[in-house]
Symmetry: C2
Subunit: 228 residues, 2 copies
DNA sequence: CGTAGAGTTGACTTTTGTCAAAATCCGTGG
DNA sequence: CCACGGATTTTGACAAAAGTCAACTCTACG
């Protein structure tokens, strides 16, 4: 079975039509012989778990369509959203360490189409494709910097600023629609989990921001815009 | 000059006598031809900056002796300690991303002897030595997991627990002396910066813990033991 | 001795989270 | 079309947690 996949390697090209595919971003599109990633498509409904914290690592996913969150549990009813992922992003790669279990969960926020990449296969690819390994190393280094910045913010930044930050990050990540809203539908609860605070606090802060003219809100779940 | 270093590569062996050298831990000791790391020793006095957040990345360091902290500024008078480093650890590697500046600072807590590794040289080594790249990638992946766990704790864990956590981590990292104290001298201020809280809070929590018999303290700067 | 600096303590303030009630929205079935 | 039940949103009151500030103490060192 693994062998069967390796045969794919010999096919050559990485036939990806995603503009922002993780692997293509790495400029591996033309010659990446090891991974023909878009073979094992999987569908996930809104709200469905893609992979679960604490479960055995089977592999990772390239998101082909839809939006997902990567989150870490705290107790029974709290979580921290570590990052969001959309078309072209990979998730589940945090299982790559020596650990056998996912340190985080992945959940679809909108219906997700993703391509599963078997862990063993991916590891084998890394052994063969050094440029991929190198780029992945850089990718982790960047994520680590991000993570540590956010950690410092958690420790020292007041809630209000963290919420603003969260909104900005989200808008930056998902882009802006023609009418000036962030191009995503997201609950206040998720914003709270991303900013590391509570639903109510997000609610209040966002009210303030609207009054101050710093953001606009539309709909019950909504788009956001941070005005400059 | 760079070429000169590459000549070293041909010498073969990595002649390191450190038990816990980062590169040796990677099992690269026998054949790592690319890096003869212990050539450019540098000394840093207690309290001295080894590298500075915001400055151009020149390279990284392998600590040969002493203890250092890696920290990130917040405002003028606050910081978060991201990790501690001792003999055999590398620091400054967070500059490896595409950024040109260090995202963190490194400061000697005790007199440090470290080996400087030029960034360009290291990058070249990565291009040549794939196993090194692979191990470094894994290393970053592990650190990322750590970082995200700590981030979640910052967001949800009460201070008291964060302080206990910090103490445990420190003791685990630096080991225990014969009389049962953590094998490091560290100020409460640094513990606070590591736990993401204030000096006074650490002070109070540690008092509690002593009363509860959970830790012992010795000296003004001190060793700690977390009893089980 | 005297002074600087760190350690210690207590009182107080602010921030943020918690809880519960009231208001609103929404779908469903009569 | 309307009434109802449940869920979600909004609001306010309150409590708890943690940070701030300032005073006091102790020690090391000249």
């Amino acid at each position: 079975m693994l062998k069967g996949r390796f045969d794919l390697m010999k096919k050559g090209k990485h036939n990806c039509d995603l503009k922002s595919c993780f692997f293509c971003k790495l400029s591996l599109k033309e010659w990446l012989p090891a991974i023909d990633v878009h073979r094992q498509m999987q569908q996930f409904k809104k709200g469905e778990l893609i992979f679960t914290e604490g479960e055995e690592v089977k592999g990772m996913y390239v998101i082909y369509d839809g939006i997902a969150k990567v989150h870490k549990k705290w107790g029974d009813d709290k979580e921290l959203i570590v990052r969001f992922a959309q078309k072209g992003d990979i998730i589940g790669h945090r299982g790559l360490g020596n650990d056998i279990v996912y340190p985080v969960s992945g959940t679809a926020l909108e219906a997700v189409t993703a391509c599963f990449i078997d862990l063993q296969f991916f590891k084998s690819s890394l052994k063969v494709n050094h440029e991929l390994t190198y780029q992945l190393m850089l990718f982790f280094a960047e994520e680590l910097q991000e993570s540590e910045k956010k950690m410092r913010n958690m420790a020292h930044m007041p809630v209000r600023d963290r919420v603003i930050n969260a909104l900005e990050k989200i808008q930056e990540k998902f882009g802006t629609t023609d009418d000036g809203f962030a191009n995503i539908t997201i609950t206040k609860q998720d914003i709270a989990n991303f900013a590391g605070t509570t639903y109510e606090t997000v609610f209040r802060v966002m009210n303030e921001l609207v009054e101050e003219g710093m953001i606009k809100v539309s709909g019950k779940t909504f788009g956001i815009i941070v005005l400059r």
